[in-house]
Symmetry: C2
Subunit: 372 residues, 2 copies
C-alpha cells in the first residue's frame, strides 16, 4: 500500500440537477459523489429547471446548496434567450457565466450573433467596476465558460478577445478544437480549456459496447480525436468531469433519439487519471495542476486550509455500478480495472470521507462566492 497526499480536488464542471431534477441528483447526493472522488469543490452548471438565469434563482440555488452540500459548491449563472441580461446583477456571486453555443440538455442554447455579442460585451461591462477574479480581483467576476464545438470555438475566441473577457472552453473533444486552442495559446491569446475523462479514455469505438451509456455532448469522438487530446495535453488546463447524471431508465427507456445525453463522472475521474499515471501516460503533477491548481486559478477560488486527499495509488479495483454515491447509480466505466482509490478526504481540518464512507453532514459545504 502506497498512500500519497494530494490537495483537495476541484471539479469545475458538474450538473447537480437541483432544482428540478432531484430524482437524478441533488446537492447532497452530488457532493457526496464528489467527496468519494476526492473532490472538495464543484462548480455547478446552470441548466437546472428553472435555469440559473436570474439573481433570485441563483439565491435559491445557493440556499439549497448551503443546506444540503457536503463539499464546497460554486454556481454558474446561465444566459438565456428570454431573460437576457437578468443574471448580470448576480455576476459576482457566480463562479462564472456559462453559455451554451451548441446543443445540450435543457433550454439554454444561444445561437445568434446579436445575443452572443451582447453577452460578452455585458460581461465585460460588469467587470469594469470589479475586475476579474482570475486576475486577482477580490470581489471580481469569473470567466465566460462556453460549450462551444467546432467553428463555435473561434467564434467565442474572437468575442472574448474583442472585450478582454477571460474565456474557458468546456469539454474539448476534437483534434480540430485542441489544435486551434493550442495555436491560439502559442500566440498569446488568453484562453483556457478543459477535457473530460470520458473524452480522454473512451472513443466512438466504444459506442457499440456502451450504447446510450456512451451518449453525451460533446459526443464521444474518434480515436484520432482522443489521440490529439493526449498529444496536446500541454494545452489542456483542466480535467473536469461534466458529471451529468440521468437515470438508466431515462437513458435506456426512451427512443434512442430522445434519450437525454450525459454521464456521471465525479467518482471515476481520479481513479481513471491515476491509472493513466500507473500506465505512464500522466504523472501526478499533471493531475494536481489540472484538478486543483489550475481550476482554482481560473475561477479565482482560494485553497481551503487544512484540506487534502489521501490516495492509495497501488490499489487495483474494478469500477462498478454498485456502491456509488451518485443517485443514478451507474457509470460508463463499469467493469474497468483501475489503480488508485481515495482513502480519506479532509476539508478544513475535518475528515469528510474515509473508508468508503461520507462523514460530512449536509450543509457542511460552503457556497463559494456567495457566503462571505
Amino acid at each position: 500500500m502506497s498512500v500519497i497526499r494530494l490537495p483537495g480536488l476541484v471539479d469545475a464542471h458538474v450538473h447537480l440537477r437541483e432544482p428540478g431534477y432531484e430524482y437524478k441528483e441533488d446537492f447532497t447526493s452530488g457532493t457526496r459523489a464528489a467527496l468519494a472522488g476526492g473532490v472538495v469543490a464543484v462548480l455547478d452548471m446552470p441548466n437546472s429547471h428553472p435555469p440559473t438565469s436570474t439573481p433570485e434563482r441563483l439565491a435559491d440555488k445557493a440556499r439549497r446548496a448551503a443546506a444540503k452540500a457536503v463539499c464546497d459548491v460554486g454556481l454558474f449563472v446561465g444566459a438565456t434567450q428570454t431573460e437576457q441580461d437578468a443574471y448580470l446583477s448576480a455576476a459576482t456571486q457566480a463562479c462564472g457565466l456559462k453559455i451554451y453555443v451548441n446543443d445540450t440538455f435543457g433550454s439554454l442554447r444561444i445561437d445568434t450573433l446579436a445575443l452572443m455579442h451582447r453577452l460578452f460585451r455585458g460581461w465585460a461591462e460588469q467587470a469594469e467596476g470589479v475586475g476579474y477574479r482570475m486576475r486577482g480581483a477580490a470581489q471580481g467576476i469569473g470567466p465566460i465558460t462556453v460549450h462551444a464545438e467546432e467553428l463555435m470555438v473561434p467564434a467565442c475566441l474572437a468575442l472574448s478577445q474583442l472585450y478582454g473577457t477571460p474565456l474557458h472552453i468546456a469539454h474539448v473533444s476534437r483534434r480540430s478544437e485542441i489544435e486551434l486552442i493550442r495555436a491560439a495559446k502559442e500566440r498569446g491569446v488568453p484562453v483556457s480549456c478543459e477535457v473530460t475523462p470520458h473524452h480522454l479514455f473512451l472513443s466512438s469505438d466504444d459506442l457499440p459496447r456502451l450504447g446510450v451509456r456512451g451518449d453525451m455532448r460533446p459526443r464521444l469522438a474518434t480515436p484520432d480525436d482522443v489521440a490529439a487530446l493526449w498529444e496536446h495535453l500541454e494545452a489542456v488546463d483542466l480535467f473536469a468531469t461534466d458529471h451529468a447524471p440521468h437515470t438508466l431508465a431515462e437513458k435506456e427507456g426512451a427512443a434512442l433519439s430522445a434519450a437525454p445525453p450525459g454521464v456521471p463522472g465525479l467518482e471515476t475521474m481520479l481513479p481513471l487519471l491515476l491509472t493513466a499515471v500507473h500506465d505512464g501516460r500522466l504523472d501526478i503533477a499533471d493531475i494536481v495542476a489540472r484538478c486543483a491548481h489550475n481550476p482554482r486559478r481560473i475561477y479565482g477560488m482560494p485553497e481551503p486550509p487544512e484540506s487534502w486527499v489521501d490516495v492509495d495509488v497501488d490499489l487495483s479495483w474494478e469500477l462498478a455500478n454498485s456502491g456509488l454515491q451518485t443517485r443514478v447509480g451507474w457509470t460508463p466505466f463499469a467493469g474497468q480495472r483501475v489503480y488508485g482509490r481515495v482513502e480519506q478526504v479532509v476539508l478544513r481540518g475535518q475528515v469528510v470521507y474515509a473508508g468508503g464512507q461520507v462523514l460530512a453532514a449536509p450543509g457542511s459545504g460552503r457556497v463559494l462566492f456567495v457566503e462571505g
Copy 2:
C-alpha cells in the same frame, strides 16, 4: 444636365459564371454589363463549374477572360473540401481566396473547423514568402474573403487574427454582423467588409412583391437590419454587387425551394447609389471611396491610367429588364425610378462605353494579377 467625372469603378464581388454556366453569363456579357454600370474592373468568384480551386483551372479561367472580357477582371481562387490546398500555388495570380462558410450556390461550402484552420494557416504560410498586396507587396497575395453570416463572422475574425491574414467579409446584411464588425474595427482589428446594393435598398418587406426575384444569399434582411447598415456606413469599406445572374426561367420555373439564389447587379449599382446621393443619404465621396479607392487598396489593384466614368447625375430614368447587357435580362429593381446615368466610360485612354453602347472589343480587358 450635370455631368460629373468619377474614377473607373471596381466591383469586387461578381459571378461571371464561366466556365460551366455560360447560358447565364460569360466573360463578355458580364464585363459588358460592368462597363454599362461604370465599372472598369470586376473580381470574379470561384464557384463556377468546375470551381476555381486549382492552378490549372485558374489558368483556364484567365485564358477565357483574356479572350473575352471588355473590362479588367481579377479572379478568386476557392477552397474546396476535396482539393484542399491545391489552389495555394496559384495564390499570387488570384485576387484573393474565397471561402464559403455559409450556404451558397454551388459546391464550395466549408464547414469544419479543421479545414477552416488549415485554410487560414495555409494562406498565411503562402504570404510568408511574398507578403500581402494590400500591405504594399508588389508580388504578394490578396485577402481571404469570406461568405460568413452570423456567428461565422467572429469565427473568421479569430482565425484571421491568429494568423495575421487580411480578412474581408463579403455582403454583410444584418445588424448583428455590422455591429460586430464596427466594434472590432473600433478596437483596431484589421478587417474590411462590403455591402451590396440589394441589402441597402431592399428588405424582407419587398419579398411579397419580388418573389424569387428577391431571393439571394445572404437573404434580404429585415428593415431594422437595413437601417443598421446605413447607421454604420462608416464601417462599410466597399459597395459590391454580388452580381449573381440566373435566368428567370430557372428562378421562376423551379419549385421555390429549388430556385437558385442570386440576382444580377452590375448595371444598377451606380444609379441606385447616385439616387441615394440625390436623396441626401450618401455623398459622392462615399461612393468613390467604396467603389474605387477602397477596393483597389484592399485587393492591391493599381489604378489604370487615363480611366474615368462620366455620369449625368441629374438624369432621372426607370430601371427596366429591357436594354440590359447581362445575359439574363432582368433586375430586381425593374420599375424603380433612379437618378444618374453613365454617359461615357474611358479605360486606359480608350472610350469603352458611350451613349448606351459598349465600344470595347472582347479581349480588350486585362486579367489582373495574371498578366504582367
